[in-house]
């Protein structure tokens, strides 16, 4: 059994290792240099490299994105941290209209490998503008890599890949994952974009997910195993490029597909996965595809509503059961992965 790190520690380690390996890597973002250090993820880098390479920025998301693009154009490798992915709406013009198109529209002569981390703000009552997952919005546009790691090992490997890539990258991190633990190799390594993995093998139903929903799916799978239902969990790891093969081969094997996502169904991650299946292996489907996503409203604050709003292991299990014709009432209730979250905010 290898060494264990939390998700945030894995990110912190990748950051430090990449900064050691490449003096051009710098970290930029609001309050990245403080005692909390972006949930701990930038703290080690600050302690090791100081203010010259871990740069506190003004509250100017648009310009900071453009500034980091310009810096990338002149050889730096900026890693920009947003403590809420929701703030990235203000950086979208720079990221989508400029960074993602740069290499192509200047004739494939230069790239701007800026990396942006956006934290999806689960926790108590984060509400409508502090808990959105923007992976599918960024994923819609060619020219970006977009990943949403589920495990500490992938968090390290995908961040390392990002900081070595010559393409701009967006990484989405669900705050509920920071305290989760997993084996993480000590040496630097990259996890390639566009390679999914079977997080748990199974035969009856496939659950396709990314980030936090992989954990919820695994928990649902464990629960259903007790009911004799075998669930395969596919972790896509990156949403662009998207590993269609791992999705389709699993779907072809099980014939039943549930897609779980922290963002809304319409035009979201869950839509794309369903579309890939409808394009490539529709004949394999033994039942309709099911999507487990938030309902069509903004995220509420009041906690009973919040519980009802967010997709969970319970809802995934229910969807799987529906597909195999199982009985929901036979299955015990589950709490969320972030049930261990300690407030107050």
């Amino acid at each position: 059994m290898g060494r264990t790190l939390t998700y945030w520690q894995a990110i912190a380690e990748a950051t430090v290792q990449c900064m050691e390996a490449d003096p051009c890597v710098v970290v930029a973002g609001q309050n990245v240099d403080d005692a909390k250090g972006s949930y701990g993820t930038t703290r080690a880098a600050y302690e090791r490299f100081g203010a010259a390479r871990v740069i506190d920025t003004p509250n100017s998301e648009n310009a900071v994105a453009g500034i980091c693009i310009g810096a990338a154009d002149q050889g730096l490798r900026p890693l920009v941290v947003h403590t809420r992915a929701d703030f990235m709406f203000l950086a979208m013009d720079a990221l989508i209209n400029l960074a993602s198109k740069w290499r192509y529209m200047y004739g494939d002569q230069s790239g701007v490998p800026v990396v942006m981390r956006g934290v999806v703000g689960r926790g108590w009552g984060q509400g409508a503008t502090h808990s959105q997952s923007l992976h599918s919005v960024f994923g819609h546009f060619p020219g970006l890599y977009v990943a949403a790691p589920a495990s500490p090992a992938d968090a390290k490997g995908l961040l390392t890949a990002a900081l070595r890539a010559d393409t701009p990258v967006v990484l989405m991190e669900n705050r509920s994952l920071y305290a989760t633990e997993g084996e993480v190799p000590e040496e630097p390594y990259a996890v390639p974009f566009g390679k999914g993995r079977i997080a748990r093998p199974g035969t009856d139903v496939t659950v396709v997910a990314a980030s936090l929903m992989v954990h919820e799916a695994e928990r649902a799978a464990a629960l259903l195993a007790g009911q004799g239902v075998s669930v395969e969990v596919v972790d896509v790891r990156s949403v662009r490029p998207l590993d269609e093969d791992v999705i389709c081969s699993s779907a072809a094997r099980t014939g039943r597909v549930v897609i779980a996502d922290t963002s809304w169904a319409r035009y979201g991650f869950s839509a794309e996965v369903a579309a890939v299946i409808a394009e490539r292996v529709p004949e394999a489907l033994r039942a309709p595809v099911r999507r487990v996503t938030p309902p069509d409203c903004p995220a509420p604050v009041s906690w009973p509503l919040e519980e009802a709003f967010h997709p969970s292991a319970q809802k995934i299990a229910d969807a799987c059961l529906d597909l195999v014709g199982g009985d929901r009432s036979a299955v015990p209730a589950l709490a969320g992965v972030d049930a261990g979250f300690i407030g107050p905010y």
Binding site: A128, S302, A308, Y345
Partner: protein
């Protein structure tokens, strides 16, 4: 000019409400919404809002409680909102950063920096177009003033002479980041406002009388159609950025925090009042009791109130549909 005792009383009320709520927030962990207390910054909200009429409007950023209360927002509605109850001012959907009380003229607060600066500008523009003499005020921090939208809004307001008062509560921090890391030395947000041709004043934000006097000038100018107007109020927050605790010695130097504790706006207003009201300490004690009681009542009501029904989860995502004619 508002009676100085009334200004003091308002500040004490906000202080008591927030202190009570902070303790409960920490101890009970039942208010599951991130809270940004204004303890130490009460003079800004009180001094400015006392210059407003009820039908004037206020929009704020995340640090919203003080302005909500100073504008006359309903206390039980605010407390129930923090507890996530159906009786909350935003029916439990918005939380601390989305307070609203339309009847009181507290239009709303928002969690994303800078948004309400533009919204307030547009509200003022709309009111001005309608020939109304109502004035709009927006409160935001030194950090929000770094957002592009701040400058875009001031430019628009200046071109269209919108009756809006921009109130920048400069507490010299954005979370843990000191202003020196974020804005050029020797400058000021005031100077930026002036560069749009906007009348701007920088005043001691912990001196409620000074704040109030400046706010009266600002509001009068806007009401006379000479807006917009800008105020930069230097102040300091006593608690951590978000939550009920303290960040002394962690994010901010102890001596700095202590020097500001000595400049307590409540204490200063009380001291200033003493010559005219020698019984000011008695007043303070009585108010303290009154407002802590008021808060406890609101808390009790909030606790007794129902949560929103889960089957109403999606209600309010859309207005009523438009049907084909």
């Amino acid at each position: 000019m508002t009676d100085p005792a009334l200004l003091l009383r308002q500040m004490v009320r906000i202080r008591c409400v927030e202190e009570e709520l902070a303790d409960l927030y920490r101890d009970e962990q039942e208010m599951r919404t991130p809270v940004h207390f204004s303890i130490g910054q009460e003079a800004a909200a009180v001094g400015v809002c006392a210059a407003l009429r009820q039908d004037d409007l206020v929009y704020t950023g995340h640090r919203s409680h003080a302005a909500y209360l100073a504008k006359g927002g309903d206390l039980p509605g605010m407390v129930a909102e923090l507890y996530g109850k159906e009786t909350g001012c935003a029916r439990g959907r918005g939380g601390s950063v989305h307070l609203t009380d339309r009847a009181a003229g507290f239009a709303g607060s928002a969690a994303i920096l800078g948004e309400m600066i533009s919204v307030a500008t547009g509200a003022a523009w709309a009111l001005g177009r309608q020939g109304s003499r109502r004035v709009v005020v927006t409160f935001f921090g030194d950090g929000a003033a770094e957002e592009g939208v701040f400058h875009e809004s001031l430019n628009f307001a200046a071109v269209h002479r919108a009756p809006v008062v921009y109130v920048c509560e400069n507490n010299a921090y954005s979370i843990s980041s000191p202003i020196a890391a974020r804005q050029p030395a020797g400058g000021s947000v005031t100077a930026r406002a002036r560069a749009f041709g906007i009348t701007a004043e920088r005043v001691d934000g912990n001196d409620v009388a000074e704040v109030h006097a400046a706010a009266r000038r600002a509001v009068a100018a806007c009401r006379a159609g000479e807006g917009p107007y800008f105020l930069e109020l230097d102040t300091y927050r006593w608690r951590e950025h978000v939550g009920p605790g303290h960040d002394t010695g962690i994010d901010r130097p102890r001596e700095e925090v202590e020097s500001w504790l000595e400049r307590c706006p409540v204490r200063r207003a009380a001291d200033a009042l003493r010559p005219a009201a020698p019984d000011v300490e008695d007043l303070l004690a009585a108010w303290d009791e009154e407002f802590r009681d008021e808060t406890r009542l609101a808390v009790a009501a909030a606790k007794a109130a129902p949560f929103p029904a889960v089957d109403r989860l999606t209600d309010g995502a859309y207005g009523s549909p438009v049907h084909a004619s």
